[in-house]
Symmetry: C2
């Protein structure tokens, strides 16, 4: 069986077995969701405890990375869901042991991962992915086969993305219950800096502010109600995960933070000088209404012409989502 | 019947009829919750539409403020739940038509309301209140008898607060299903600036930031998931309500905003210069854990000695809550 040619008809994509590397909240939930959808799946985790927990729930898992990747080298899909600091060593193992696998990932920054994939010589097998779902919990015990139901799942269509890799990655997202949004790495990273990474920073800052006045902090935390609970919920995310995604998206996050700080500084000035917060509040309310009104339009991607990647990016940018593959 | 003497034994506090002025989300929910608890209640609303909606649900309501307050002048409790801009005119009517009523309120700032109450000559009848509950909805249609169940409800114990007024206000909070936290006006306002008003500001700023890059805004809103949804939820609150509470707590909010802006500026600098967000993320996570670990200790308030107001403030500050009255 020749799987290295990019011919889309070789194997129905929904039948390709999937090898999940890293069985935390996201990787473990992918394993559960794909298994629910009838896919052949297996997984690897660095810690034996994670392997054992997943095996106890009936999943095919191992802590032997080389042996796991040797199985995947039969043209399977490898989905990388390890923390950013572990990325390089895992990608080096993929290059060594599964050069014929298709490669995707579930890491929340895409330009950084694409660079590391290129450094490992795997670009011709790779389409990046990012499921837009999560909770503040972590580890196998938090995994949920329904985590991605109704969510969006970005699959990167950069100019260098191979068509077969894109389809395999998109098929994983669809089988997990998500709708697929095509996007470029750079525009994805700019977007998530604004709807996730800077949002985590303001949640952390809001939590710290509640305690910053020693004379009021105990009373403040005691009185905190739903607005505080909702805004600071993501500050409960393990710090290592927040650091990994924010620090690997540094440039885009700096731009987003500059905008957030400018807004808060402007409203502080307006309140001090004119006693009003109207400017920020009216625009914030309007932006939230825009978010509530977002609509997505299903479309069928075409991956057979020149420049298909650009066409997909433009469709995703305009609100298009893929809910089934051609 | 002499109700103007401050003798706590005149009338069991839980039997005192309650007159609610303003039938929006908070006032209307108070009317529902007290009625559920078996209290005699009636209400006034400025707009006839609100009066009619509440009457259609079986409540005793009117748009005639003078006539409504004439009923309350029999030593009833008047609870003011009107928007801040309407406060002065409503308090003037209370002074004119119900000088013998006990007075409390449900406005989210306390020093400002206490000043307006003093200006109306009503301090000897008044104990301020603030139920720590709400949603982003507004109006009678959003009212809910269960809105305050399990919530905290601040009842102000300033040095000038009369004991009988404090008990009447606390009894209203308890009958609404809340636990009562005694606090001073100034410390309440400092606390809510940090757990509500500045939190609204960062939510608004996060929503605006999502749209601030025109090249990425459509994609950003399309990809926004649970972190964005939760953090910006309160940006869906009607702007007039956010403005009223923030602008009437100007000084305390400026202090809180200064702390939030300083945190975000510091993490921006750390990320730009050292590539890390660790300092803010570790402290934000710790603050959120402190919030999750908050415990409250029920205590029975004593209102019969000199300096009882100070003793209540200290008890509230130390985590004490009142769940039943002496």
């Amino acid at each position: 069986m020749e799987l290295n040619c990019g011919n889309l008809d070789d194997v129905p994509t929904s039948d390709t077995p999937v090898c999940v590397l890293g069985l935390g909240l996201i990787g473990g939930s992918v394993l559960r969701a794909l298994t629910r959808a009838g896919r052949a799946t297996y997984g690897w985790n660095r810690s034996q405890a994670g392997v054992d927990a997943a095996a106890a729930d009936g999943f095919d898992t191992s802590s032997d990375l080389a042996a796991t990747l040797a199985r995947a080298d039969e043209g399977h899909v490898v989905l990388v869901a390890v923390p950013v600091p572990a990325l390089d060593s895992v990608l080096a193992s993929v290059a060594d042991h599964a050069p014929h696998a298709w490669l995707t990932d579930a890491v929340s920054v895409k330009a950084h991962v694409a660079k590391r994939v290129a450094a490992a010589g795997l670009t011709s097998r790779y389409a990046g992915g990012h499921p837009m779902a999560g909770t503040a919990q972590s580890g196998w015990s938090a995994t949920d086969a329904e985590l991605f139901d109704g969510a969006t799942w970005v699959v990167v269509a950069d100019d260098a993305t191979p068509a077969r890799a894109w389809l395999e990655a998109a098929s994983v997202g669809l089988d997990c219950g998500a709708a697929v949004v095509p996007a470029g790495s750079a525009e994805h990273d700019a977007a998530v800096a604004r709807i996730s990474h800077s949002v985590h920073m303001v949640a952390e800052a809001a939590a710290v502010t509640a305690e910053a006045d020693p004379a009021a902090s105990r009373l403040a935390l005691s009185l905190a109600a739903s607005s505080f609970r909702d805004v600071t919920r993501v500050a409960g995310t393990p710090p290592s995960l927040v650091r990994a995604m924010c620090e690997s998206n540094r440039d885009a996050l700096l731009h987003a933070l500059d905008d957030t700080i400018a807004e808060l500084s402007a409203v502080r000035g307006e309140l001090a000088e004119h006693g009003t917060v109207a400017g920020l509040v009216e625009r914030g309310h309007s932006a939230r209404r825009d978010y509530d009104a977002v609509t997505r339009t299903p479309f069928t991607p075409a991956l057979d012409g020149a420049g298909w990647q650009r066409a997909l990016r433009e469709a995703g940018h305009a609100g298009g989502v893929v809910t089934e593959l051609p």
